[in-house]
Symmetry: C3
Subunit: 348 residues, 3 copies
C-alpha cells in the first residue's frame, strides 16, 4: 500500500522516535499570509526596523506560525486517525525563527494509555521543531485520542507521563535576545502598558470579534501543511457527528492571540506554553472573541529588559467576552472553545 | 483600561499629531497577496525585469497597497468609532515604495466640526506615510464622521479646512523615476494606447466584473492591519442597520483600479488622489464593475517621458458599466458605490 | 476602442505569433500562496535545505505554479471568448524555475478548424514560457473552442495539427538537475517508495478530499493573472448554462496533484504533459478526490539518479476514488472532472 493510512493506537511504541516528513522553509510569503489570515499587529513581528531597533537582526516569525509549521508535520504520523486533540504541555520556544530558515519536526512517543472501552487510546508525544542545523527552536508535548485498528489488540506497554504544571521561567530566557535599553517605542508598539502595569488576577476583555470563513481556515491549515481531513472535506464530514468541516484548533489559538493585541500589545513574544485545551469545536460562520487573565508574573534571572507574564487566554464563539465566560461547574460556559495558559515576554 | 476604546469626537484637538502604532515592513509576500486579492496586471508592478528596463531598480509596490498599509495604521486612532468615511483629498505619492521597506504613519488633526445634532462631528486629518528614515512616501487628507462620547460635551475648537480641488501636477513628478527613452514595451504592457491617445471627456467601460467573498475582503483588510470591527464581526453586525459585515472601502478602490487595466493598461502608477467618495456600501456576494472618464490631461514640467491623466473611476455593484452609471439628480445612480478622482502617469 | 474585447475565431492567422502581456516575477510570496491554496507537501519544493541537499541551488517552484503563470498570460489573447478548453499536449518543462525569475509567454497559432455549424472554431496554439533572458522554461500545446464574431465570416486557412501521443523521455532530462547520489532522504520526503517500486498498471487511490470555496479559486486564478470572466463574475454567470461561476480547470489540476502526494510522495517534479482533458466543470462547494494509474515507466538516457513514471491522474468531484472511477462507455463516470497524462521524475 503506497498511501498513508495513518497510525492506529496499537502502532505506537513507547520511546519510539518518529522523523516527520516535509521540511519547510518559512519565508516572508508565509509571514504575509499569517498577517492576512489572523491580523496580528505586534510591532516586533511586523516591522524589521522596529525589530532591529530593539536588538533583533530582523523581524522574527510570529511564534505561533512557527508552532503551526512544526505541528503540521506531525499530523500524518500522529493525528490522522485521532478523534480528539486533548491537550498541550511543556511548550518552550528556544529562540526566534526568521524568514529563510528551514524547519523540520521529530516526535518521541512518551506515553500510551488504552481507553477502558478498548476502542481507543491516548498517545502522548514530545514534538521538537529544529532548524536546518538540527538546533531546536521549539519543543512541546501534546496528547491525542487515537482509534485502535482492532479493539481486541492487546496493549502491553502503558505509561502516563506527568507534566510540569508550569514551564519554569529560567528555561525560557533564550527565546528572546536582550533588548537594547530604552529602545522600545511604546507609541509604535501601540500601548503604554509594560510589565509592571499588569497584576495577577487582572482580567482583560479583548473586545474585538473575528468571524471565520471556510476559505480562511482551509488556506491557513494548508499553509501549515496540516493534512487532517476533517478540516478540508465537506463531502465526507457531512456524515460525521458535526455534519461539517471542523476548524483546526490552532486556528483558534492564532485568532485569540491576534485579538489579544488589544490589551496586551507589548506581550510581543510567546515564551512557553504551560497548558492548552480545545474546549469545544469551531465552525465556519462562527465569530471568535477572547479575554485574558494574568495568572502570574515572573522576572527573568539576570535580565532587566523584560519580564514574563503568565497569561490564560480564553476564546469563545458567538459570545463577546465582557463578562469573561469561564469554567462553570465541572465544565465551561457553553461559549468557551479554548483555554490556553502560556508565558509571554513584556518589556519592563 | 488596557484596551483601546477608540477616540470619540471630543477627544481630538486641532493641530494635534498622532503617531500611529505598528510600523510595517512590506514584502514580496504582501505583493503576491495583493495580486491574488485584486488581480492587477500592470507590467511595472508585476515584473522586475520590465520595471528595470524602464528605469526602476525593481518592481515597486502597487500604489494602492502602499495606500492601504499607510491607511490601516490610522484606523485604531481615527476611525474606530467612525460612522462614515466621508472623503479624501490632496493625496500625493512622493516616491515609489519597494519590498523590504518599512512604513509607518503619522496623522495631524487639521479640522474639527461638530454636527448640528451634537451627536457626532467630522474629524479632518492629514495622514503621512513614511519610510524607516522618516522620508514621506505618501500624504493624503481624509475626513470621517465620529461619534461623540457625550453629546453634551462642549466643543470649543472648530475649523473646516479647505482642500485643493485638484492636486497640482507640478507636485507629483517625484512619484516616478524618469523612464528610459523608448524602453517601454507596449506589447508586454498589454495595450498600444499611450498618453496622447486619451482625450478629455472620453469614457471607458472596463467591462469585467469581480464578485467579492467574505473571506477575500477579510484577508485583504487584515493584511493592511485595518482593525475596523464592522469588516470582521458577523455576530455583532447582524444587529446593525445593514445586518452584516461591511466591506472596507479601500477594497472597492483596489478592485476598481485592477479592473481599469482593461482600457488603461499603461496608466501604471497613481500620482495623486484629488477626491474620493464611498457613495454606497459593498457587501459580500456583490459584483463590482467600473468605468472611467478622462477629466484632464497634463504634461509634467521638464519631462517628455510621461504625462498625467486625471481620471475619474466610478465603481458600481451588480451593474455592468456599459452605460456609465453616474451622478443622478442630487445623488447617484443606485448602483454606484465609489467615485474616485485621481492622477495617473502614462507613457508618452 | 481601448478595452480588449478578446479575439474571435476569424481573428487568428495560421503561423501567427502572439506576445502576451504582463511579464511576471515569481516570488516566495507566490510560493506561500500556492502552498496555502493547494497544500502540496513535496519536500523539494517545500524546503530549501532539502533541495540543496540533492543538488538544487534552492527550492524550485512547483511546476504547476510555473504552468499556471505561463498559462494565465495567454487568456486575454486566446481564451477570452472561448467556450471550452479542449485539451493539452506536448508539454515539456525545460528547467526548474526559482523565486525571483521573471516569466513571460508567447503563443504560436499552429492550427485552426472551423466547426461544422460555423458558429465556432477550434484554435490550436503552442505556448512557450520564457525567463527574462528569453530562455524557454516550459512549452505546451492547447486547443480551445472559440466563438466566431460573425458566423458568415469565411475561413480560408484551416489546419489540424497532429500531436505526439507521448512526450519522449529523452526530451525531458533537462527539467531536473542530476541528483547527488544517496542524498535523497526518503523519511523527510514522506515515503519509502521509489522508482522501482511502481509497476505499470498499478492504481493508487489518493484517499483525501478537498472542498473548494469561491474565495479560494478566485484568489488562485487572480494570482495567476488569469482573467477569464467566467471564474469571477457571479452576476453575469447567473444567466449562463451553469448559473454560477466556473472554477479554472488548472485549479483542479493543482488540487489533484497535491492530493497525489499521498501515494506518490517521491514523484516530486513533473517533466512533461502528454495529454489532458477537463472532462466536466467544477463548482464551489464540490469536493475533489483523485486517483492515479501508472501507465509506463522509463529510464532516462545516461542517468542513474531518477526514472520517469508516466502517470494518469484522474480527479473526481463528490466521489471518493477507492473504486477508481474512470472512462465508461463513450464517456466517463459522471463524477470524473479531469483526466491528465503526464511524466513525473522519481528517485531510483
Amino acid at each position: 500500500m503506497k498511501t498513508n493510512p495513518g497510525r492506529f493506537f496499537e502502532d505506537y511504541r513507547l520511546g519510539e522516535t518518529i522523523r516527520h516528513a516535509t521540511p519547510r522553509t518559512v519565508t516572508t510569503g508565509d509571514v504575509a499570509l499569517y498577517t492576512a489570515l489572523y491580523g496580528p499587529r505586534f510591532a516586533v513581528q511586523s516591522s524589521d526596523a522596529f525589530a532591529k531597533s530593539i536588538g533583533y537582526p530582523q523581524s522574527p516569525l510570529d511564534d505561533l506560525l512557527t508552532f503551526h509549521v512544526v505541528f503540521g508535520k506531525t499530523v500524518p504520523d500522529i493525528s490522522l486517525n485521532a478523534l480528539a486533540n486533548l491537550g498541550y504541555a511543556e511548550g518552550g520556544f528556544r529562540r526566534p525563527v526568521y524568514p529563510g530558515e528551514t524547519l523540520s519536526t521529530v516526535s518521541e512517543v512518551i506515553g500510551l494509555k488504552e481507553s477502558s472501552n478498548r476502542q481507543t487510546g491516548v498517545v502522548y508525544v514530545r514534538s521538537t521543531g529544529s532548524d536546518a542545523n538540527g538546533e531546536t527552536v521549539l519543543s512541546y508535548c501534546r496528547w491525542v485520542l487515537v482509534k485502535k485498528r482492532d479493539p481486541e489488540a492487546k496493549i502491553t506497554q502503558e505509561h502516563v507521563p506527568t507534566f510540569a504544571k508550569v514551564v519554569s521561567p529560567a528555561d525560557l530566557a533564550t527565546a528572546l535576545p536582550t533588548l537594547a535599553t530604552g529602545s522600545y517605542d511604546f507609541d509604535l508598539a501601540g500601548s503604554p502598558h509594560r510589565f509592571a502595569d499588569y497584576v495577577v488576577g487582572e482580567k482583560i476583555d479583548h473586545v474585538d470579534g473575528m468571524t471565520v470563513e471556510e476559505a480562511e481556515h482551509q488556506i491557513a491549515t494548508r499553509l501549515f501543511q496540516n493534512t487532517a481531513k476533517v478540516h478540508f472535506d465537506a463531502f465526507a464530514t457531512k456524515d460525521t457527528r458535526f455534519g461539517r468541516r471542523l476548524i483546526y484548533g490552532g486556528h483558534v489559538i492564532s485568532l485569540a492571540r491576534a485579538l489579544s493585541f488589544n490589551g496586551l500589545a507589548n506581550a510581543f513574544a510567546i515564551a512557553g506554553i504551560n497548558a492548552g485545551r480545545h474546549v469545544a469545536p469551531l465552525f465556519a460562520g462562527d465569530t471568535v472573541y477572547a479575554w485574558s487573565e494574568v495568572l502570574e508574573t515572573a522576572e527573568l534571572p539576570g535580565r532587566s529588559d523584560v519580564g514574563l507574564l503568565r497569561l490564560r487566554t480564553v476564546a469563545t464563539k458567538n459570545q463577546p467576552c465582557g463578562a469573561h465566560p469561564d469554567k462553570q461547574g465541572d465544565g465551561y460556559d457553553p461559549s468557551v472553545i479554548l483555554d490556553l495558559d502560556y508565558w509571554a515576554f513584556m518589556p519592563r
